[in-house]
Symmetry: C2
Subunit: 428 residues, 2 copies
């Protein structure tokens, strides 16, 4: 069920770190015409693709105010209460990320500063498919609103009746998003990038999606002037466990990540002995047989799962930093100490009682995180993802005079004499 590697030599670590990559050029050839058609034909193309892929003839692309308001009576009070709790924790964590920067007097007469400004127009993609990913609405909507973004739109595919799941609508309304469009797939990404009669274009597109959506985001970010949150791929978990880790919990965490996708990347790294490892394997089997749904996905995913036995926790950390997993659980004695050695990961969960599911929904941290090893250079979503920082400077004549020789010398060295002149003309 899970592949076991005992003391794999360092030269094999690269292949252990490898994720399955899909055939990008094939996907590209499917997605490019969709994007071009939406760009050219607008709403007509959107409706045609919705007919083709979602099997529904849409009259109107935008969710009506009536449907948005009705969502309130369609979901349980228990769900409302849970959304409220998650909302408050996520908001509390993210609002601490906001901070102002002071104006800096570089020297007499030279003031420089950065001003944080929210991106004017942003768009979210929320996958539909089998289940309503309302938690992603929270994870994008809360920091987006906190950072001050005024124009937020949301695209999500409709069901066979042409409706959006009420829990998506309720959550969107709860965070303050009211421009919701019933479009999914690559076509929705094209619509947000270029705009159609119904859907306004945006400057940045956020949100997870299947491989078509991911490729579409990459294509519009090259061709258009739109930017995207990050490259996204199947979900990932790495677990570091020593002999204080409960095999029952470790197995549950591997299974929980496996239910996302048959391509999920799950790996357990440990210096533990065979008897502990056997317990994890038994637990995996036992809990797998008890899974109430998605057995098919979990089975396929677990077959690619890896259990790596290494000689020490230091060696475990070294491998993990090479993998740069989206989620990392450190289920060890002195978990915080070992957490201090993490260089590459999206989000880190310390100890026996910090499962990934907590961060997925309600502890407060964001669940939109870098996959595929991009954690080596990308951060997960935060309020920073929704703003840009513009630098300003104000210089007096005296201040400029003071700098003038330095600028003249450097610009001359670079052969940029008109640059030099723009200084000298002011202080002559």
């Amino acid at each position: 069920m899970i592949q076991v590697y005992i003391h794999p030599p360092q030269k094999t670590w690269k292949s252990i770190s490898n994720r399955n990559l899909q055939n990008i050029s094939y996907l590209r050839s499917l997605v490019v015409p969709i994007i071009d058609n939406v760009k050219t034909y607008g709403d007509i193309a959107l409706k045609a693709y919705t007919r083709k892929y979602d099997h529904i003839n849409l009259k109107s692309i935008r969710v009506s105010e009536e449907d948005l308001n009705k969502s309130d009576i369609k979901i349980s009070n228990q769900l409302k209460k849970s959304i409220e709790i998650a909302y408050h924790n996520i908001k509390y964590f993210h609002e601490k990320q906001l901070h102002d920067e002071p104006q800096i007097e570089i020297s007499k007469g030279i003031s420089c500063w950065r001003k944080t400004i929210p991106i004017e127009k942003i768009g979210f993609y929320i996958p539909g498919g089998s289940a309503p990913l309302l938690s992603t609405v929270l994870m994008l909507g809360i920091p987006g609103k906190l950072s001050g973004c005024k124009n937020i739109i949301l695209c999500t595919p409709p069901d066979k009746n042409g409706e959006v799941h009420p829990s998506i609508l309720y959550t969107a309304k709860y965070v303050g998003i009211t421009h919701i469009y019933k479009v999914g797939g690559a076509q929705s990404i094209a619509a947000m990038a270029y705009g159609t009669e119904s859907i306004p274009s945006v400057y940045k597109i956020f949100g997870p999606g299947n491989s078509y959506v991911t490729i579409a985001k990459q294509i519009v970010s090259q061709k258009g002037r739109v930017s995207i949150d990050m490259p996204a791929g199947p979900s990932e978990v790495a677990i570091i466990a020593d002999d204080t880790a409960n095999p029952e919990y470790v197995a549950a965490d591997l299974l929980s990540q496996s239910e996302h996708d048959t391509e999920s990347y799950t790996i357990l790294v440990t210096p533990n002995n065979q008897s502990w490892i056997n317990k994890v394997k038994e637990e995996l089997k036992k809990q797998f047989l008890n899974t109430s749904s998605k057995q098919n996905i979990i089975e396929k995913s677990l077959k690619k799962s890896k259990l790596i036995i290494l000689r020490s926790l230091d060696e475990c950390l070294a491998l993990i930093n090479q993998i740069a997993p989206e989620h990392l659980i450190i289920n060890c004695k002195n978990a915080s100490y070992w957490g201090g050695k993490v260089i590459n990961a999206g989000s880190v969960f310390l100890g026996n009682y910090s499962p990934v599911s907590a961060g997925d929904y309600a502890s407060g941290t964001n669940h939109v995180l870098p996959t595929y090893g991009y954690a080596k250079s990308y951060s997960g979503i935060s309020v920073d993802s929704f703003v840009k920082k513009i630098t300003f400077q104000k210089i007096s004549k005296k201040g400029l005079k003071h700098l003038s020789e330095c600028i003249s010398v450097l610009s001359s060295e670079e052969g940029l004499f008109a640059h030099k002149k723009s200084i000298n003309i002011r202080i002559k």
Copy 2:
């Protein structure tokens, strides 16, 4: 010499904002084989391309310690002094961007925080060509070092004698970069993305370059797991001027931006009357005839330059926010007030004595800024560009218990029952 638009109607603003885009698919077809060859053949390919494009047979790709040390005696004391002044101002501005975030107790037993970690391995591209862009070494090297990056490499094309300009070497050594490679163009980007025998691979590539370099950065950021600083294009300046603006300075700023590239985007937006405008035009002619170099580039660039006459400063700001220029000079009475209305720009220069050249070299702000309208969603380079922020969480059994119902309800709604189980198994 400069195209004049009088009260252009709003529907024409989009075409005023348009930058010239190069034929990307043609460039791509040239660059892809270069990248593939470097990936496959490593140093052999690098040396072959250096022979082809830089007309030199390199023995060793890396700059020797001896050459690095010798740079010291090859440059003037005046240049050294100017590098020192710029270094200190840039460092002073960028070090204020560093800040720690506190650990946050979301509720009893739930602690979450973000930890800022420098990207492990980064690479800079510094263009060679006609002049040594030592200021870009400062603009990348200083925030890179401040953020704590340990492994920094630098690629720059060699001259016809196979050498790197001593002022580049001196500046690199001054900021603490000692791994310097004599490779330019798309081949250097491929080398930093995939690694060769001489050049180690990195996780993020920074720096400006010609269109081959820019396309190469985009390609490796899609194909590999490497990320890049931002999409880059020809330099841009927009100037907003009222009747307090000195026509002499305005003309000098337009000329100074024009000497970068024949494709530079330069635009002057003003509610001023014809007599002020005529003065600017006269000054442009006069100063153009006095330019000591790059007349050819400046002439071609100025032909595409635009002078837009609008009805009010409010209208000027509205157009500027649609253009999202890399550099914006606000040369008006109450420049700070109008600066407060800027939404989209890379860097803003306020008043008669804040020319772009100041920020290009020595006031302290960064000169690596978003072009092509990407200022709508991107920031310029700062210490943020060299780090990622990893979220951590530590939850106690009690803390998890407290969250468990919320997580169970939300994960069930999303059909993720193994997620629910990973919580329940811990608190049963």
